[in-house]
Symmetry: C2
Subunit: 325 residues, 2 copies
C-alpha cells in the first residue's frame, strides 16, 4: 500500500483553499467536538452564537502547542545559560538547585518543577536589558537542538494544534498563549511559529525597571519574580491581561486545571480540551512526569465533559516535519 501524499506544510497550520479544516486530526469524537463547538458559536441566530469580539481562546504552551519532554524547552535554555555563566558566578555553588545543574543531576532539577525553573530563570535571566535578553534567546533558538529529533526547538511544535489555531482564527477567534513559561522567552518565537502576536502572549515574568541611561530609555531585568502564570495564576493572568473570560481553553496538565475551570465554569457555550500524551514512538507517553503531570485534571475532564485528545489515536501527524499518514 502506498502512503498518500502528505498535505503541504503551510505557515501556522493554514490549510489550502477548499481543503477541510483540521487535516491532521483523525475522524473521531475529539475532532467532532471541536467542529461542533465552533459551528455552534459561529451560527448567526443560533442559540449558542457568540459575538466575534467574545471569541477568546487560550492555549497553554508546554505540552499543548509544543513538546515538553525530555524537559521544558525553557529549562534547556536555562541550563545552557547556567553553564555558560557559572565561571563568573562562584557564589552559585551555595544554591543546591544550581549545584545540581552543574553536577548534571537532572532528577534534582526536575523535582524542582516550574517553580524551580523560575528560580533558575530568575538568576540567569536578570541583570540585562529586555533587548539584550531577547537577543540571547534568539541566538539560543537559532543554535540549540532538541535531543530526540535533532532539530531546532521551534520545529518541535504540534501540527494539529497549528491547524486548530488557524481554524479558530478563520472563525473569528482571537488566540492567546497562557503559559507558565517566561513571557519574554516565548515572545521571541511565538509570532513566527504560531502566528500569535506578542501582545497575545501571557506568561510568567520577572520585575523590570525603567531608567534613562545616558539619555537612552532602557528596561532592565531584575532578579525578582513578578508573576507566576501557572495553576491558580492562569485565571489571574487571563483576567489581568485579557479582561474578558475565554470561551475555549486548551491545556495538557494539572497546571492548566484552573484555566479550564475558569473558562468553562459559567453559563453560555464553553469548550475545554486536554492533550493527553500517549504516543511514545512519535512523541512521548506520560502522565506522572515532573513536567506536565496529568492527574486531577484528567479526572475532572471526565466529570465536566472536557474533550481529551489521545495523541496516538487522534492525530495522524504530530509535527510539521513528519510525513502525514
Amino acid at each position: 500500500m502506498t502512503a498518500p501524499m502528505s498535505p503541504p506544510i503551510l505557515a501556522f497550520g493554514e490549510y489550502a483553499q477548499g481543503q477541510a479544516p483540521l487535516p491532521s486530526w483523525n475522524e473521531g469524537s475529539a475532532k467532532q467536538s471541536i467542529v461542533n463547538f465552533v459551528r455552534a458559536v459561529t451560527t448567526a441566530g443560533g442559540p449558542q452564537f457568540v459575538k466575534p469580539e467574545e471569541r477568546i481562546a487560550v492555549f497553554d504552551n508546554d505540552g499543548t502547542l509544543w513538546s515538553e519532554q525530555p524537559m521544558y524547552f525553557q529549562l534547556a535554555f536555562v541550563l545552557d545559560r547556567l553553564k555558560a555563566m557559572a565561571p563568573q558566578h562562584p557564589e552559585w555553588k551555595d544554591n543546591p538547585l544550581v549545584a545540581a545543574v552543574l553536577a548534571g543531576d537532572m532528577k534534582a532539577v526536575a523535582a524542582g518543577g516550574v517553580r524551580g525553573i523560575l528560580e533558575l530563570a530568575t538568576i540567569t535571566h536578570a541583570g540585562m536589558t529586555t533587548d539584550e535578553f531577547a537577543k540571547i534567546v534568539q541566538d539560543w533558538f537559532a543554535s540549540a537542538r532538541h535531543p530526540k529529533f535533532n532539530r531546532p526547538y521551534t520545529d518541535v511544535i504540534f501540527q494539529p494544534m497549528l491547524e486548530l489555531l488557524a481554524y479558530l482564527r478563520a472563525n473569528g477567534f482571537k488566540t492567546f498563549v497562557v503559559s507558565g513559561g517566561g513571557v519574554e522567552f516565548m515572545r521571541v518565537c511565538v509570532e513566527k511559529i504560531y502566528g500569535i502576536p506578542p501582545e497575545q502572549v501571557i506568561g510568567s515574568s520577572i520585575v523590570t525597571k525603567f531608567e534613562m541611561v545616558a539619555g537612552v530609555p532602557v528596561l532592565t531585568r531584575l532578579p525578582q519574580l513578578d508573576f507566576m502564570d501557572d495553576n491558580v495564576g492562569k485565571p489571574v493572568g487571563i483576567n489581568k491581561h485579557i479582561g474578558r473570560r475565554p470561551i475555549a481553553a486548551f491545556g495538557n496538565s494539572d497546571g492548566d486545571l484552573q484555566m479550564l475551570q475558569w473558562t468553562t465554569g459559567c453559563t453560555g457555550p464553553r469548550f475545554g480540551l486536554l492533550v493527553h500524551h500517549t504516543d511514545s514512538a512519535r512523541e512521548y507517553a506520560y502522565e506522572a512526569s515532573s513536567m506536565g503531570k496529568l492527574d486531577v485534571a484528567l479526572v475532572e475532564a471526565k466529570e465536566k465533559g472536557w474533550t481529551v485528545v489521545d495523541m496516538k489515536q487522534d492525530w495522524s501527524r504530530i509535527y510539521p516535519f513528519e510525513a502525514g499518514k
Copy 2:
C-alpha cells in the same frame, strides 16, 4: 455668519465615506504632524514604512481621551463608594485620607495624587469578586453625572481623539489604552466609548485570587496594590502586556513622560504627542493641577520634537455632544 452644519456624530469617531480624516482638528502643525507620520509609516516601499503588526499606538486616558477635571473620574467613583460604604467601616476614621473625603476636604484628597487615589481605591474596591466589581462600576457610570456638563462621564470624551483613534485603526494601527487608572474600572466602558477591546487596556491593578467557591470559580479582589501603571510604570506595563515597542504615544501630563520617552527613544519612525489643556471655556485650562500636572514633559516635548496640541486652537470641537464650529 451662519455656522456650517456639524459633522454627524459617529461611533468611535469613525468618519463617513469620502470625508477627510480628523474633521474636528483645525488645519495647523499639530494635525499636519499626525497626517505626515501616518502617511510615512503606511507608504509601502517608503523609507519609513512600518509593517502593520508593528503599528502599535498607546494612549493615556485621563486628560488624553477623556477629561480629568475637576477630578479624575475614578476619584469621583471612589468618593461615592467611600461615602456609601463608610457606615459599615467605622475603622476608616483613623485613615487621614478617608477622613478628608468624609469631611469634604477635597484639597487634601487632591494632594494625595494618583497614589492617594489608589490607596482609597484599594480599600473600597476589594473584598468582592471581579464580576461584582464590574457591576458596581457599570451602575455608577449609568447614574453619575459630570459636575460641569451634567452628563454621564462616558460622554465627557474628546471627539478629536476619537477621530484620531479611528484614523489610526483605519491605517492598520492597533490602539491601546495605557493609564494610571484602574484596569477593571476602565474596562467596563472603554470598548463602548473608544472601540478599544478590554485586552488592549493596560492600567493599575490590585491583587486578585482564584478560588472555587461551592464548585464555582471566582476571582476575588484583595486590598493590595498589584501594579501601578503611571510614570516609570507605563513603559514597564507596556512591555509586560504588549511586548513590542509602540511607534506612537499620546499623553497629556508628566505621568506620561516615560511612556513617550520609551516610545520615541529609539531608531525608526516614532511619534509623540501631548494634549495641552488650554480651553477654560469649553473644557479646562491648567498645567499646575494636582491632577494631570504638565511641567517637565512640556519642556522635553520641545527638545524632542513631540507634537503639542493646543486644545483651544487645534480642536474645533471638544466633545461629541458639542456642536462643531
